[in-house]
Each structure stands twice: as structure tokens, then as C-alpha cells.
Subunit: 338 residues, 4 copies
């Protein structure tokens, strides 16, 4: 019963097959191969908008390079205080941007609200003493598994535009959001004012492939340069591109994410009395206390504590390929805790 992270899961067979198929014949290096060259068109079609897609192998690279392309060194990035960029990337956004500052806000379920933006702006309006807020970054799904509805994204997009902020979405689990919301990729991004998306695939069935999706090609050269300079331009680009192509083929990405979401809801029902956040995607947060967590572990469940040591809270993440039997067994354990 391993619910530690969707990063522990294997690569989906369709994607592995594509990697295999890519392993044939010479191919131009550094992204000039045929697979990589198809990405812009494929992503443009998926998003119903001209888009540029830049492959990298980690979400941290995607987030940092995307943000650095719109935030000057003296700029600030409004984000939730629990955001991955704030807590889990060892300062990568600061590194790539040349020392920009994250401007964290608080709020339930790791969500940013439009009103938060105004608050940050009012505290950072003394040029040149305060840094200049330059971007909003949200996670979809959030670090608490929550979703932003289309309307919520659009409201943030509106607030960002009004404040002159670029709008970035960390979509490490964008597939889970899209599957859960039933909204189109377009509706959740550029139609709602999003400028840049970190489109994740790794957690949802790829080996290691993410795309920075830019809806404004004016940022392309900067992203290309920053990616190269960060050591993220793959010489044999075909393998990562092949992963992304297979991931998007025939809706595989939504299918895998939808399955994980559904199983997570089962866990959520079993853990209803202990839920510390609503279950909206493939993550389940429970707060049954340290003793109960110890009992779950004693019964063979693997998961991480959340929010620090000994908080009595834990996170359960369901992977795209999580065995139903594992989920059922975990549900049983959770019901016993009641």
C-alpha cells in the first residue's frame, strides 16, 4: 500500500512503447529531431491556440525557467505559501530568475484568491525599495489536491492582467485537474488569462518529461536560452518528446489521471471523518492524529506526514497505476480508524 507519491510509479506501457519506438535511426540532436519538432503543433492543437512547447525533464526546471522568462531579478512572484515553488525546489525560482523574491500568501487548501493579489500589491508599492510584483503563480491541482474552477482561474487571470502580472500555472498535476474539472485545456489556461503553463507528465505516467507551454511566442527566445543555459536542452531530445507525444495520444493523459482521481475519491470516502482537505483530485489529506497514523503504518501503509513532524496529518497520493486492491485495503484500514 504505497501512497507516498505519484513519483514512485512506473512509466505507462504506452509511453514506454513510444520510447522504444523512438530508438531507431539517426536523429538530429538538441531538439531538431522529428518528434520534438511535432510538439508545437500538437500542443497548439490540444490548447486550441498557437502555443510553443519546450521540453524539460523536471517540474522544477519547467517552473523556474517559465517564471524567469517573465520575472526580472528585482521582481516578485505571488504564490501560495505552500506552493511547490516556495517549499520544495530549494530556491530554484530564485536561482533561475537571478534573485527574484517569492511573495507568499495564505489561504485554505493551498489556493490563492484574487483578493490576495491586492494585498501583496499594497505592501509592495514603494519603488525602488520594495521588489516589484511581476507574476502570479498558482498550482493546478494545488499542493492540497484542490482545484481552481474555470471561473476561479479566470478571476485570477483578470486580477493578474489588471495588476500587470504575468500568470503562470504549475501544472505538475494539470492532467488530474483537467480530468476532474471536465474543462478543456484552453478553458483552464489562455482563455482564463494564463500566460505560461508547466505541463506535467512525469507524475502521471511518463518517465521524465514536462513541457513549458507558452501561449505568447514572444517569450520563446528567452525560454530557449534559459533552458540551454540551465543545462536542460537534451541532446537526444527524441526520447522525451516521444513520451509527451504518447502521453497526449488518444487522451491517455486524461484517462490515467481520471483513474487516479476516482480511486482517490474512494479513499476520501473511507477517510471522511479525518479529511483535512476536500478530495478533489488524486491526493487525500487526512488528520487522524499520530497514533492513528502509526497504526496505518504498522498495517503496511506507506505515506508521508504532512506539514511538519508529528502534526498527526498525512498525505495519501494515488498514482495512475495504483492497484485497486491496494486502494481497497487502505479503505478498510481507514474505516477501522473511525
Amino acid at each position: 500500500m504505497d501512497f507516498r507519491s505519484d513519483n514512485t510509479s512506473v512509466c505507462a506501457p504506452e509511453i514506454m512503447a513510444a520510447v522504444h519506438a523512438a530508438n531507431s535511426g539517426a536523429a538530429s540532436a538538441y531538439g531538431a529531431d522529428d518528434s520534438t519538432k511535432r510538439l508545437d503543433a500538437i500542443f497548439s492543437e490540444l490548447f486550441e491556440h498557437e502555443a510553443r512547447a519546450f521540453v524539460v525533464t523536471t517540474g522544477t526546471a519547467a517552473n523556474s525557467i517559465a517564471l524567469a522568462s517573465v520575472v526580472p531579478p528585482w521582481g516578485g512572484v505571488i504564490c501560495h505559501e505552500e506552493a511547490h515553488i516556495a517549499c520544495d525546489e530549494c530556491g530554484a525560482p530564485e536561482f533561475y530568475s537571478g534573485g527574484a523574491k517569492l511573495l507568499p500568501v495564505r489561504g485554505p487548501n493551498a489556493k490563492v484568491a484574487p483578493a490576495d493579489i491586492a494585498g501583496v500589491l499594497s505592501r509592495h508599492n514603494r519603488s525602488p525599495h520594495a521588489v516589484k510584483p511581476a507574476a502570479l503563480s498558482i498550482s493546478q491541482t494545488t499542493e492540497r489536491g484542490a482545484l481552481y474552477t474555470r471561473a476561479e482561474v479566470a478571476a485570477l487571470g483578470e486580477a493578474s492582467r489588471a495588476a500587470g502580472l504575468a500568470f503562470h500555472v504549475d501544472g505538475a498535476r494539470f492532467a488530474n485537474a483537467a480530468a476532474a474539472l471536465g474543462a478543456s485545456p484552453a478553458e483552464l489556461t489562455w482563455k482564463a488569462g494564463v500566460d505560461l503553463l508547466s505541463f506535467g507528465a512525469t507524475k502521471n505516467g511518463a518517465m521524465g518529461a514536462e513541457a513549458i507551454v507558452a501561449f505568447d511566442s514572444a517569450r520563446a527566445e528567452e525560454i530557449v536560452r534559459r533552458r540551454k543555459r540551465g543545462g536542460h536542452l537534451l541532446s537526444k531530445g527524441r526520447y522525451a518528446a516521444a513520451q509527451l507525444l504518447a502521453y497526449l495520444q488518444d487522451g491517455l493523459w486524461l484517462h490515467l489521471a481520471g483513474r487516479a482521481n476516482e480511486l482517490a475519491h474512494r479513499l476520501g470516502e473511507a477517510a471522511a471523518p479525518f479529511l483535512s482537505a476536500p478530495v478533489e483530485s488524486n491526493q487525500v489529506f487526512i488528520n487522524p492524529g499520530n497514533q492513528a497514523l502509526a497504526r496505518l503504518r504498522a498495517a503496511g501503509a506507506l505515506f508521508y506526514d504532512w506539514g511538519g513532524d508529528d502534526t498527526g496529518e498525512a498525505r495519501l497520493v494515488v498514482s495512475w497505476n495504483q492497484a485497486e486492491a491496494e486502494v481497497e485495503a487502505m479503505c478498510t484500514l481507514l474505516r477501522v480508524l473511525r
Copy 2:
């Protein structure tokens, strides 16, 4: 009645005279002049400890270069959320350190407490995902005019050492603290575990001269290099050095600061019903409401709002040379508000 800042004041006559006196004959450039070469000895004597003093012209430079010498790019600096380094330096610490992160804590009167350190550490213990807390930086006096007693500094020094943190003091108003506390410079710094001090003179009577004081000469080369690289090695170093020498001569620094502190206390008594922070040095924070502040301004008082727009709170700063008549007039205005 100008209480906007101690930065609006002129240079003290003793210091201006020293600048004048320095203007004679050829002198070696880039800090090899006789005045600059005396600084290490003078500061070592003042602090009763071998010390290295590195001249710069701004507090921002002093703070940033000092912190960068002890905080790696992936490190964090624990500080108060109202700290000058956090709010007023446009990200200079992030710039000089190569993208380190400030880790702000909350607390009354802009003071950091030892317990705050433990809190930050527990939230940043997942290497390599979280940044590594590497330094504590406090302001003495604080951005709210408060003081850390010797015991309080020592407790923070103890906590820093236990946590493997370097300990930096932003002493833009260190003179005001030393004068108010009646403690020796040594007691407020290295004897209490302080590693690096930004020793300010500009606000308290100099034209533009600050010293990074390092109590461990192992940091010297790094500070020298970072200062040069930051464009802060003055070619004609004699003039800034002369300011510092005059500032320390015969206790001028304490005399000037003591006078400002005393006048601030008079303001504080007059404003007693509206004080939003205890008056401990040369800054007075009042919270009489927007209408009252408007009346003060209508009567000719100059000062800045505090904490944002329309908070009804204001800061009054007394300069080393503030006219007693100005203070008296302001006291009268404040008493009328009651």
C-alpha cells in the same frame, strides 16, 4: 517639523571637518590609504576584539555583502518580516547571495525571538527540497525602534550557534541601540555570539559611510571580493574612512545617538496615548488615526505613514541634529490630539 527620517539630516560638523582634512595630498587608492588602513585597529579597539572593518556607502550594501559571505545560494536567512533586508532593499540580499531566500518570522516590535528560529528550522529540514537556513539577521534597533537587550542578543546568539546559523546584526542604528542600552559594543555583538555587524554611521551624522564589521577574519577575502564585485570598493577611500574615524572619535557616535534618543522620548511622552510601539530609541510610532495625522500635517509636521496606506499609523524619526524647538512644537501638537 521634519520627522521623516534620520536620512534627511545633514552631516555632523566634526565629520565634515574630517572629510575636509582628508582632502590633502596624494593617497593610495582602493583602500590602501592611511585612513582606511587605520580602521581595522580602531574597530578592534572599539569592540575589544580583533575585527576587520570594510567600508561601504550604504546600509543595503553592508547587509547584503555581509549576508552573502555566510549564506550559500541555496541558503535561507531568518529575519523579521518587517526587516529592512526583507522590505526595503529591493531584493539586494537575494542578489548578492546568488538567490538565497529570506525566511521571515512575525512578532511584536519587529523583534525575532529564539523560539522563532526553531519554527523556521522545523519547516526547512527536508534537504535538498527546502532551502537550508544558514543565518539569522536581526536589526538593532529594530524597524519599530525596539531594542534587543544584551541578554536577548545572547539568547539569539546561543540559538544560532546551536542551529549552525551565522548571526548578523543590521546596525543601521546601532549607535542608537548602544546609547540606549548603555552596553558596550562588545557586549552587544561578539560576546553575544554575533558574527557580522553592519555598523551604520550615515543616519547618525555621516555623509555616507557604513562598515561591515567581521569578528572572524576567515570571511575577509570573501567580503573583499564581493565588495569589489558589487562596485563598492571606493577608489578614493580616504573620504569615507575619515567619516568613520571622526564618527568614533571621542564617542561622537554615542553622543549624537543619545541626543536623538532623548528627544524621541519626549515625543513619546507627548504621544503616550497613541503609541503603537514602545519608544526605546530615536523612532516613535503612533496610531492616532488618519484624521489626526492629517491635522498634524496641516500644522506643518512631516512624517511617513507606516504599514501601508491609510492605516492611521505613522512613524516619527528624530535625527541627531533635530532642533529642540521642532521637538517641542511637535510635542505640543501631539498633546492637543489627546
Copy 3:
């Protein structure tokens, strides 16, 4: 007849099989998986010395992170002016180091000589005005396909140590060097004074896997932090680790590189009159003039010009899996040019 680069080649079947085999069961994320955890031991055995191996996916990342761990922002890196780090990484070493400076030297076949070091040092000895030379970085094989013999590496190691420089080897084609020289990995690295090696696998049969090999574990934390911060810590680390393990298994790396070297020598013999650099590994540089190059291309050969446009010089790179028939056909074309 594709001799553009060894980056155009596919992944070796043994390595692809290992990737496949890794795709089973849950595995801890972020390098805590079993394959990654074996790397230190495997590399220590290969190098007959305690070593730490840090996986990344590109040579640029390996070089930049390695160098940043030993070069301060105000430091300099002595390298050949044709070095990959100087010409082909879009300033990645400058980015990762926080703005260090490359200090290029000239010399035949892209090789650095011990005397070059003295020259750079004498021009950079005015602290703090000049940057401080902090590392030597050589490429083995060089960007001109040349080799450093054991004695040559050792002489550079000696000179580096004497000058207080860290010694880094860009081993994007280290396998080709080791195969050609018949020396042990140990003899070519730490026994010769090398501190850090970028150990390449991608060009020689992997999909995308390189290792930063550190012979002094004191640099480990810095490398770990810089890798994470650069976005190079793979969440599903098992796949890259599996590539490296297969690459080293039963001498596969030397076998593949040796084959490419041998075929390159055949090309070299055919092109003997036009060689612009001695053929010592898997790269062949020819200078038959623009007209001759045009004729080769007209006959179906793919390769890159070298040294700029219209220089009449070209580079032919032989991949691990280059078809013998392709080599023979190219030899025929080259002989005709005579």
C-alpha cells in the same frame, strides 16, 4: 552517411533493456531508489577510490554544477578557448557559478598545457581587481578529438595543485579517451590529480545520462543542492540510474567507444592528406576546402563545418553504432578527394 555527431545515434540495446527492466514496481523518488543508490559503490569500484556519483541528464548540467561547486562567483576557470564550456553551453558555467569568468587559453588540438596555467595566473594576480583563478577544466577527449596522456593529465594535476586550482575534466567522451589510451579510469583522474569528472554516457550509447563524479565527498552537499536548485534532480531517478548501470556493466562503455574510435581511424587513414588534427578518438577533422566538402555532401555525406562558416574545414564524428558500410562508403569518398 551521417557523421554529424554522436548525439544523433540511438540508445544501445543493453541500455534500453535496462530502462525497460527498471520499469517495474514502485520506487522511491528523487534518487532514493535502489538503482541510484548503487551508483556510488559502482563508480567507487570503477575508479578504485571512494567516489560520489550524481546523475544528471546533460553534459552542460554536469560541467556547470561540478564547476560551481569549486569556483566562487569571483573565481575564474582556466580552459581552452575551444572548450565546450566556453563555446557551446550558452554561459551555463557563468550561470551556475553566479558569474564566474572563463579564462581561455590557446593551443593546438584544443589542449591546455601546464605552461598556460602560469600565464593566466600572472595576468590575474591583482586581488581584488582581477578575478581569482580557481579551477582548471580540460576536455578528455578534447573538442578536437585529441587525448591527454596519463602523464599529461598528471602534469596538469600537478600544476593545478601547485596553483591552488581545482581540477575538472569534461568527460563527455571520457569513454573514447579511456578506450584509446588503455589507461584505467583511476589513472586518468584522481591518480593524476583530478577532483571532479563529468562522466558522459549519452554520446556513447545512453538515452540521456551523465554523472558528476566527485573524488572528494566534501563537495557532495553543495553538488546535491546545486543539482536540485538547477532542476536536475529527477523525480523518477531509476531510469537514468539504470542507464548508467548498464553502461558500466561488463565494460560496455569501453566496448562501444573502442569501436567508434577504430572506425574513426579508418576514416582518418582515408582522409590522411586533409587531416587538420591527428585522429586520436572518434572524431576526425579534415580541411579539404569548401569545394571538396560540397562534393562530399553532394554524395550524401552529412557532417558539420568547423570553426565558422566557409572555413573549408569539417568535423566527422563516428558514433558507437555507426554502420561499417557507412564508414567504408565515406572512406571511398575521401580517397577520391585526394
Copy 4:
């Protein structure tokens, strides 16, 4: 007989008087004082063009901040290999720009020629592998005391524009150039295609004041932010501004520089047989051999060797206030060497 540098000289009496005069009454901090506010108009008048002037205290700060405002982190700066930014600023341009690369060219008298630009461009045209040349920076006067004529500056301006490069002039000794050339500041800058000028005053009679002069106000916010972030926004800005105002008053700057130039020519005539560069401003380079240099020193002359240790070459710099008697005595010594 001190010919070490124009940095060893005192502050001119007119400038010191202005500093004194500025020391009266409260003044707004951080550049909002009346003196600083006059600078834009004064510089606009001087340059016969709308200009923004940003005060800093060192030439290194002026150069680095100016360049960082036009060069992205992945950009390159074409400059002479003996340029101050390349040799004497400990990597400050790299620091401020976030790791851009200097692209040095060679040539007599430390001058860049238009043809050099084409050479650099042709070697840096492989995006994204090579850095992108983004600016040309020349020194006027050069590090060898040479001048660029109006026509030469204009030719470089033309070449820069054609190549999409910003054009920066390091004018640490711009006064010496303007005085020697008899050209207007406008003719030597924006009329010739210059975008940014580091306008020096310190070497020519100020205590410590330089201005970044921007002819395109679109760069203003970036410069303002980078200056603050670099710790170069002076809180008591009036003193540096007063220096610049006095420096420009009634042509003082040209008068002082002209005198130094004239005295240098006298030295040049006396040293005619040993000149290693033509004498065009206030610097004289001689190459009489080590023995001769030792004799000069034995006779009391102070100066620096040039180009490394024991090259037999030396630099003599004449300051604005160099005593004629000193010059005459030195001339006598030089004549004896013949």
C-alpha cells in the same frame, strides 16, 4: 613625483565647496533631494538631448549597472581584452548581469575596431549554444590613454546598430577625451550611436561620484532597480549630486581634464623614445626596460608597472592637480634615460 593614478588625487576645491554647501538643512532621502533632482536637466543640457543621469559612487558600479540594463544573462559584451570591465572589476559585469560573458577582442592601444565586431558575431551565431552578443563596450579614453575620434565612435555606433548591439562607453576619463578631442559631449555619444555612458568624475576631481547617463529613458526603471538592488542608491544623495553639479559648473570638468592632458603631453615629449603608446590624454605608457624603471623609482618617482611583472613597461598618470614642478622633475628624469 606620484604618477600612480588619478585616483590618488584630492577633490577639487570647487567640488569640496559644493559638498560643504550641500550640508545645510533637511533634504529628502534616496535621491529625492533638490540637487539630485536637478541632474537630469543638467545632463540633458550638457548632452543636448533628453537624458537620465543616475548617480553612483564608483565606475565599476556605473559600468556594471549600465551593461546589465541592456545585456541579458545569456548575452555577451564585446570589449577590448584590456578593458577595465574585463580586467579590473573582479567580474562585476558578470555579477550584475546575472552571468553574461565578456567577448574580448585584441587591437593596438586598447581600441576596438568595427571589424572586430563582425569577427565576434561570426563566432557566436549558433543559438542557443553560443551566447548572444548584446552590447559593445568601449573605453573613452582607453586603458592605454588612446582616443576614439568622433568618426571612430560613429563607425562603431553604426556597426553596433547594424548588429543589434547596445553601445556603451566607459567614460571613467570621458572628460580627458572630451577635452582632448574638442568635440561636444553629444558628438561623442548619442550622435554617434552611444546608448549608455558611464560618466566619470572621481578621477578628475570629485570625491566619489559617477553618473550613468542613459539617452533612452526606456532603460530608466531597470537602472533604478538595479542600482537600488546593488546597494548603490545613496540615502543622503545630496552630497554626490552636489559633486556632479559643481563638476559640470562653468566647464570645470573640461578645464581640469585639459590641464592633465597638457601635462601628460609634456611627459610624453620627454619620454618620446620610450613611448609604448601614443600620448593622447592624461596617461603616458613607456617601455624603457626594467633597469630604467628602477632608476626612475630610485629617483623618487612613483608609478605602476604595466602588463604584468617585469615587462619593463610602466604607466604614468597625470592627475588634474599634478604639480607642474613634479611634471618638470619627471621630464628631467625621463630625458636622462635617453
